[in-house]
Amino acid sequence: MLILQLLVNGVLLAGMYLLMAQSLNLIFGVMRIVNFAQGTMIAVAGLFTVWLATRIGLNPFLAIPIVFVAMFWIGAIVERLLLRRITLRGTQGELMTLMVTFGISFVLINVALKAWGSEYVSLPYLQSSWRLGPIEFAKSLVIAGAFGTVLSAALFSWLNFTGSGKALLATSQSRIGAGTCGIDAGRMSTLAFALGSALAAAAGTVLVLVTPLGPQSGNDLTILCFVVIALGGLGDYLGAILGALVVGVAQSVLGFYLGGNVQVLLPYILLILIMLFIPRGLSLSRLAR
């Protein structure tokens, strides 16, 4: 029964990780940019949610649409003013975009430090569990996992079954090909970065219910997100589910049997192993094909 509880905890944690990581996938898939501000966007959204809840008494779930829309527009502006102006081709372009997203991360961290201070905060909300037989289901993780799953399904459906989603997907597969079909690749990049930023923000509003966040939590979250999508295959939406499950379950089980030090080291060990042995990740989509 203990191992079942550990697996349940791991799966719930995986739902949280999927929610956090999927927007990194979206941005990489379309723009070929690994957004190093991803974790900071998540953390800042979490802090903003706490501010909304403590200052005006707004329920954290009601904060989601506000944070989502705010971050969507911030993402769109950042893409148009910064990322659009960088030549994205070649190694130099990749490095430039990485440095820019690093820069965005530091700007966000410092704005958050000025606005809310450096303290780690969380919210006393959904702190208990639902009990089903002998198994405890942490409410905050269930909600986060369910939210992550619904958002992932919605994103997957939108990408595969709607005109605008297919246009975005087409751009991610071939910018030139999409352009010759009349798709505005620049507009798709703006949409991808804006939507990716908004999804990261949505993750932050839920994550802050699970664990305390501070302005500088972001870098560790970015690494975690990166491991999840690298494990699943960069840009592979289905693979990210598998990546999240591997990281979540491994952290839950190893955290119990081997302790907290191993739990924290695990994403970094996985990252090294992926780089060495499966640089293209597990890539479920490729296997499905």
Partner: protein
């Protein structure tokens, strides 16, 4: 793809370099009967340790301000130049080098946390500059060859030392130890483990963790599975919160639940809500204690910052009191004379009368236990100063 990963690694290193290059903040210097006496230090304004460290900084700044308002020291004003070490030991070491070699400060105030002080401790001795370290409780820092470091906080090994004897009196036997992987917490955890063994108690769960742990549910489940009656958490602020949240998530309430550092901060109870009720913690200072100037310190701190001080604020404030009195008694900005004056001790502070041994380790600092009861932290031990009796079991509601 491999090239992309390589680029990422390069960018990550660059990012860390950026992160280490902190901004500076300095208090404007003033004029008096001579050039100002420059104090310098680093403090963790950001990072994992910032919640506790910010109190220490506020205590230091208040003490400097108040001493200056009374004419300064030796007719000269004090200034305090500090930098953010971002809770990083390597950054702190560089900053202390800079404070001495570039900023030419006269005296040092230590950083927050034993781990960071341990890293910088050789610098005051290398340059023979007196450093009063308000954030360091690790006794091994204050040993030979270190001669210029002085502490004003109790030893790491004594934090929450009263909890296990009280648990034993209540017939509790099964102990869980959760220890953060830091110099302070490891020393405290080792001492509590030894104490449990000496008391004949059974350690049923033991775990060391690093931060950031995304979710402490695995550890909480381990504690639940072991049926621990007493939880000893050798923690700092973020993990103190995370552990309490996770225990609640797995539906486990131990009979006694104590955490070393974190609970005294105002954000702790705001973040946890009712779960905080019953959590026991350590403090070395309390607003109601009848120590020299304590009530004035409490009211002026609250007036300046709008919040109540905690013991980190008191130790920061006391560090400046100790250093200022040492300079006053030495009668000059002479490191060896100031060091000799400090070694004589008997200096009144808001924490009580300060004394130290030949290596600057404080003597006679008392530890108290405080506990959240009805959303308010109350002093509960020892009984002669307690505001309320200790509540057992932990309610978490």
């Amino acid at each position: 793809m491999r090239r992309r990963f390589g680029a990422l690694a390069l960018a990550a290193v660059a990012g860390l370099v950026f992160a280490a290059c902190g901004g500076t903040a300095a208090q404007p210097s003033g004029t008096g009967g001579g050039p100002p006496i420059a104090l310098g230090g680093s403090i963790s304004e950001t990072g994992n340790l910032s919640a506790d460290a910010t109190y220490e900084l506020q205590g230091i700044q208040l003490a400097v301000e108040q001493i200056n308002s009374k004419g300064g020291v030796l007719g000269r004003r004090l200034t305090f130049k500090y930098y953010d070490d971002k809770s990083d030991a390597g950054t702190a070491v560089r900053l202390y080098q800079r404070l001495i070699t570039q900023d030419k400060v006269n005296f040092l105030l230590g950083p927050y946390s034993s781990g960071i002080t341990q890293a910088m401790a050789s610098i005051p001795n290398k340059y023979q500059v007196v450093s009063v370290d308000a954030g360091a409780s690790l006794p091994t820092i204050f040993k030979a060859p270190n001669k210029y470091n002085f502490s004003d906080v109790a030893s790491s090994e004594t934090y929450i030392e009263q909890v296990l004897p009280i648990a034993k009196q209540h017939g509790l036997n099964k102990v869980a130890l959760l220890v953060f992987n830091s110099a302070f917490s490891l020393a405290c955890g080792a001492a509590r483990k030894q104490q449990a063994q000496q008391l004949g108690m059974n350690i049923v769960y033991e775990n060391t963790y690093s931060l950031p742990v995304p979710d402490f549910s695995s550890q909480a489940l381990g504690i639940k599975n072991a049926g621990a009656e007493v939880i000893i958490g050798c923690t700092y602020y973020p993990d103190a919160i995370g552990i309490a949240q996770a225990l609640n998530r797995v539906g486990y309430k131990p009979t006694m639940f104590a955490e070393t550092v974190g609970p005294p901060e105002a954000g702790f109870v705001k973040t946890l809500g009712p779960i905080a009720n019953g959590i026991i913690t350590n403090t070395q200072w309390w607003p109601s204690l009848h120590t020299p100037g304590n009530s004035q310190f409490v009211s002026s701190f609250k007036s300046k910052y709008g919040i109540d001080p905690d013991y980190h604020a008191a130790s920061g404030y006391a560090a400046v009191q100790i250093l200022a009195e040492g300079i006053r008694r030495a009668g000059a900005i002479d490191q060896n004379k100031v060091r000799a004056a400090l070694l004589k001790g008997n200096i009144p502070t808001v924490q009580g009368t300060w004394n130290c041994d030949q290596y600057g380790l404080p003597v006679g600092i008392k530890n108290y236990l405080a506990q959240y009861q009805g959303g308010v932290m109350k002093l509960v031990y020892p009984e002669n100063v307690a505001e309320a009796p200790i509540q057992i079991p932990y309610t978490g509601a």
